[in-house]
Symmetry: C2
Subunit: 329 residues, 2 copies
């Protein structure tokens, strides 16, 4: 899978655009414009352009990061997709519904030679994990919960490391990350027998100086998603991990019975799990989203986390991730 | 899914019949006969009967538990399947290839109103796990590795518990277990996001006196399969676990770099993992296959395991599982 850029970001009638805004934030240079339908209440600050304008500007792919209301693909969205295909664009979608399974989309794309990427659905089969030690360095972002900045942190690390001249590649495991990287594996959609094998595929052997920065998923202490997380931890074979957290989060989103344990406990748990395939794997620090706190409270929060864990604790936005990269260097 | 019995066991040209022999061992009363093709070198000790004889004896399902050589379904196997469908039988297969995806099988089955079960492939979608505490009691067999008797132990427990008048249902998670129970979920074929949800579905809320005996899969310390295991541990929400092992096994089958740690360490690891969704979950004992040892060595091995773990350690064949059931009572 290699999604061609630049993108036209389709926002539909959406009132949120988490995926698309992530792409626009991290890769503004590949976002040529946005396409909004009547009723759309979000604005990514990009030029509003039509499919025809996009095609004339060299846009290669219509990116569908928003889900339709009610989940079902409305006919007028299918028409937008048809127009994009006719104008010469590929389609990349991050929906639970497979765009490529809509017969008229499939047929038109085939007849025109366009590609349709359903990034939530693996486009290949994977082998089972081998657990064999491989060369190269890997860092996996892990979390106290879902939605704690694991993708953001991995991308911030990539940016900082590349600025310092280090060899660093972000490895995407979720839909937004895949749009940003143009490739990747949606690991939570992989059959469970092959999750660690998919993670091995995603971060293959490399030179000793090279870092793969693997986007983590879920949480080892999550009653629904820990299986995904453990397979990703084992397959990624990380030498280094960064524990991500949102300041103030005390229980898992949507699972109020599940309290988040201490940072020290989380660090120990991830290090123990990772050590199976990567002996000596260490959490090298924390990345904490303190955006809900004022500057003073954020500083205190990070200091307390450092006190507790004995590790550098950064906010990827407020402080940057430089202190984490210092350790990797 | 509810596979109708009795079965005709199709052995093809096989030289092993692990799946079918498991079914014949645990459920001889539902195995009406075996169907062997020229070149077949196994014999389950059942009557060799033709499809027509099977149909006349009331057989409901042709069970295909052996894989063809080379993995590809040969034309003469398809012909056997066709004959079985025409004679009034359903088909149940445990192959990686989906029988139901063979067009002529699909069409004939549809036209005749027969069912085709591909038990390695889930026949429904699952929700994500909830982690909500549910009523009823559940025991999960867990392992130091794959192929250590997790299914055998769960079935032995069911037999012993039912003999004592306890309410106990075996819950199958692999192909052989599904053939034996007539239903179940092949959890390693479930998309990783839904593994714990599938395990919740498989062992639903029940009365306080009722035990589900859930067949475990894989091993938490397995570089390829731990994700499956963890999802099953979390979703099964077991109050009790039995750690299964094969005497003399020192490293994971096919993964010689991965040494099996001490029993005490395994017990602690499973108890910690299970406690997330089932606070207080305990390993109540071990089930050890000592078949490679002579009687004296087996007795010593079990005694040493008891010494190490402080738990009753049985061999489900040699000693029976009565001491484990004593604890559950």
């Amino acid at each position: 899978m290699r999604i061609k850029t630049p993108y036209l970001l389709f926002l539909g009638e959406g009132d949120q655009a988490k995926t698309s805004s992530g792409v626009a934030y991290w890769r503004p240079e590949i976002c040529a414009g946005q396409l909004r339908l009547p009723g759309c209440s979000v604005d990514l600050g990009l030029a509003d352009i039509s499919i025809e304008e996009a095609a004339s500007k060299g846009v290669k792919t219509l990116l569908i990061g928003v889900a339709p209301h009610g989940g079902k693909m409305p006919a007028h969205w299918v028409e937008v997709i048809r127009q994009a295909l006719l104008a010469g664009l590929d389609i990349a979608a991050g929906l639970h519904t497979r765009i490529a399974s809509i017969p008229e989309v499939r047929q038109l794309a085939d007849s025109l030679g366009r590609q349709v990427f359903d990034v939530r659905h693996p486009d290949r089969e994977f082998a089972v994990g081998t657990g064999e030690l491989r060369s190269g360095k890997r860092l996996l972002t892990v979390g106290t919960d879902c939605e704690v900045g694991k993708m953001f942190t991995a991308l911030a690390l990539q940016r900082e490391m590349r600025q310092r001249g280090m060899q660093a590649d972000f490895r995407a495991t979720g839909q937004t990350g895949i749009f940003i990287a143009g490739t990747g594996v949606s690991v939570d959609a992989v059959v469970s027998d092959f999750v660690s094998g998919a993670a091995e595929f995603l971060s293959p052997a490399a030179t000793d100086e090279h870092w793969d920065l693997v986007e983590g998923q879920g949480c080892l202490l999550h009653p629904a998603y820990a299986a995904v997380t453990l397979g990703l931890v084992h397959g990624s074979q990380p030498q280094a991990m960064v524990l991500c957290h949102v300041a103030g989060r005390e229980s898992l989103i949507g699972f109020p019975r599940y309290r988040i344990p201490s940072f020290t406990r989380c660090v120990a748990l991830y290090e123990e799990a990772a050590s199976l395939t990567s002996p000596g794997a260490r959490c090298i620090g924390m990345s904490i989203n303190t955006s809900r706190l004022d500057a003073d409270a954020a500083t205190r929060y990070l200091a307390e986390a450092e006190q507790e864990t004995g590790l550098p604790c950064v906010d990827a936005v407020r402080t940057g991730v430089g202190r984490l990269v210092d350790i990797l260097q």
